[in-house]
Amino acid sequence: MKLKLLTKALAVAAVAMPLTTAVADAYELVIPATVYRTGPYAPNGIPFANGYGDYYKMLNERDGGIEGVKIKYIECETAYNTKQGVECYENTKGTPPSGGLVYQPLSTGITYQLIPKATEDKIPVFSMGYGRTSAANGKVFPYIFNLPATYWDQASVFIKYIGEKEGGMDKLKGKKIALVYHNSAYGKEPIRTLEELSKKHGFELMLLAVDHPGQEQKATWLQIRRERPDWTMMWGWGVMNQVAIKEAASIRYPMDKFIGVWWSGSENDVLPAGDDANGYLSGAFHAAGDNFRAHDDIKKFVYDKGNGGGDRDRIGEVLYNRGMVAAMWTSEAIRTAMRMHNTKEPTSEQVRDGFEALDVDAKRLAVLGLEGFTYPVKITCENHTGPGKVALQQWDAKAKKWSFVSDFYTADREVVDALIKEDSENYAKENNITPRTCN
């Protein structure tokens, strides 16, 4: 009896072997994701990772991947820790069959560490709306992309918005504008631009650092209460955002004069403050909500089959959508690379070419089921950021909803481009990099 069973098992195995080998041999596009589903920043890391992963799963189920080649999506946990992030990169970059094609670190600290490594390995890093701003200069940073806008773009847009609300940019003279920032590479990123803008428009800039993780900020908000800045901006992340919004409400700081960076503008940040958060503003480069065809496809092809990364009712939250839009631009860059190089097996270097030829216009957005979700983006060899546009969204505490309250503003190119040039050239000099030519 036992012998019979053994023979049957061996027979089944013999038949199945070529099949499994065939499946294992099928080429796949490896997209590693350095995520943080644990640690103090997990409440923000999880929805982003869910949106990022769900979009690839949807492409696999709906279209059989990108251009018919399946995506192998692998997550590596960083807990928002730079060291762990670098370990994740080293451990996953060689994953067969394609090797890591592109990285989305979701951390400015990790991005800074990966800039020289990934450049050496010829693997593109897509630090979407974070990381080193001057990486916008593709001549100096050939493998780093920070589309569709940078922190410096955003800082200048906030000043434009404030100027508009004050009745003109000339009215900024003598105004006091505070920046409450996470005391890290990320939080310090906009300072340089704001200092330049302060010189240009004559407003007083007040800088207030908050240490990680930002659970206790009483001293910061006491200073804001004393100085009473006309406007306050925030570059926060995680618990820092929630505490800051509560503290601002507590000292009766007007919420419609309090603007957070796009990483300080999710449902997680405002819900703990309840009604007090009503009117709070934040930057944005895409819409909130789940009323787009891409969301319907994710529900149909991923969640209906029980493969969703998170809860179905959280699809459409700001950070979920941010992960989704990151996956959309990434997959479009890979698609572009495959078409450009006429290959089903692109290398990471070719994916870089795909990013540099990325052109997701309004028509393409409509095809992707994301009409009106974000603005058209076109990347070139010189410009790795693209349009650099930012809109402002406002929180309605009663409806528990974010809505756009402005159009997409263009950044102050005069100030931002000069700073990008200066910073990237300094980087090139410090690191003995000869900027490449783009023809």
Binding site: P43, Q215, K246, S250, I251
Partner: protein, 307 residues
């Protein structure tokens, strides 16, 4: 002058919040000589459990179709913390009797990591806005009439801390169990020889510490929502303990107040000259300065050892 007063009062209130966490450390150290690194995670775990008992998106609601009223939720959470205390004794401490303090300390580091992971797995990592009816925002009367800013939640925290200290002081000084707890802290072997059950005592003290963690979890959770970063408030309690002494309940309170005021005054008045964000390390600098002149802390017991 009014702003200085505001800074000092805010510091005192923040100090009370630190003290609530420090108290849990003191209790366990006082009764068992163990520095419980997992105390911050206990506060997080208790907060997560409470939320899931009382919220309509908690697992209790999913399971039974209704959420517990707040008072019952607090009792149920206390039950959870007693079970945790029992498990800690059963699975960890029982096997480490008479080991070096550093071994016991290391075991609590492991416990912290385990509880963090367990909390994540059981309750998820989302921010959970805790609302058990505690007041929030500024005290309107003081702000409107005297332009003085004090947060209502912090006043409640001060009241709660005062009650906790009184109850704990009575518990340690006047009750049989309290005396037994102190006996165990002095000498495990001697306590055993006079018939005190080490295991029972440890379960009791870890349960009481679990209760203190629940109170801290509620207060901090009401401030920022229940989320993982709550476990990091343990780091805020460390300088408080160094300053107040590891074995003194009043020391935890006084230490908290000194640290709270010190860091706020430093941040507001010295911070702008050195780039700000100095309050975290200033608290440790203050504690370090105290260590140099009074290693046992303000109220800690002076340890005299024969050489």
């Amino acid at each position: 002058m009014l702003f200085f007063l505001e800074t000092v009062i805010s510091g005192l209130m923040a100090g009370v919040m630190y003290s609530l966490v420090a108290l849990g450390f003191v209790l366990i150290f006082k009764a068992s000589g163990i520095f419980n690194f997992a105390q911050g995670v206990f506060a997080l775990f208790a907060g997560l459990a409470l939320y899931d008992f009382i919220a309509e998106d908690g697992w209790f609601y999913d399971l039974f179709g209704f959420a517990l009223p707040i008072w019952l939720g607090i009792i149920a959470t206390m039950g959870v913390m007693i079970i945790v205390a029992w498990l800690v004794e059963r699975l960890v401490l029982r096997h480490l009797v008479n080991q070096e303090p550093i071994i016991l300390f290391m075991s609590t580091i492991g416990l912290a990591y385990f509880m963090e992971g367990l909390g994540d797995t059981l309750f998820g990592s989302d921010v959970k806005p805790l609302d058990i009816g505690l007041p929030s925002g500024a005290w309107d009367y003081l702000l409107d009439t005297h332009n003085l800013y004090i947060e209502k939640l912090e006043i409640v925290a001060a009241g709660v801390a005062a009650v906790l200290v009184i109850v704990l002081a009575i518990f340690f000084q006047k009750t049989r169990i309290g005396r037994a707890l102190r006996a165990v802290a002095d000498d495990h072997q001697a306590a055993l020889s006079v018939g005190i059950s080490l295991r029972t005592i440890w379960v009791i003290v870890w349960s009481v510490s679990g209760f203190v963690a629940l109170v801290a979890g509620i207060m901090w959770g009401s401030k920022s929502g229940i989320q993982f970063s709550l476990s990091l408030i343990a780091l805020k309690a460390l300088p408080v303990l160094i300053l107040g002494g590891f074995t003194s309940v009043p020391g935890a309170i006084i230490g908290g107040l000194i640290i709270g005021v010190g860091e706020k005054v430093a941040e507001v008045y010295a911070g702008p000259f050195v780039g700000g964000a100095i309050e975290n390390w200033f608290a440790y600098m203050l504690a370090l300065a105290f260590l140099l002149v009074r290693p046992q802390g303000l109220f800690g017991e002076k340890i005299i050892e024969r050489v």
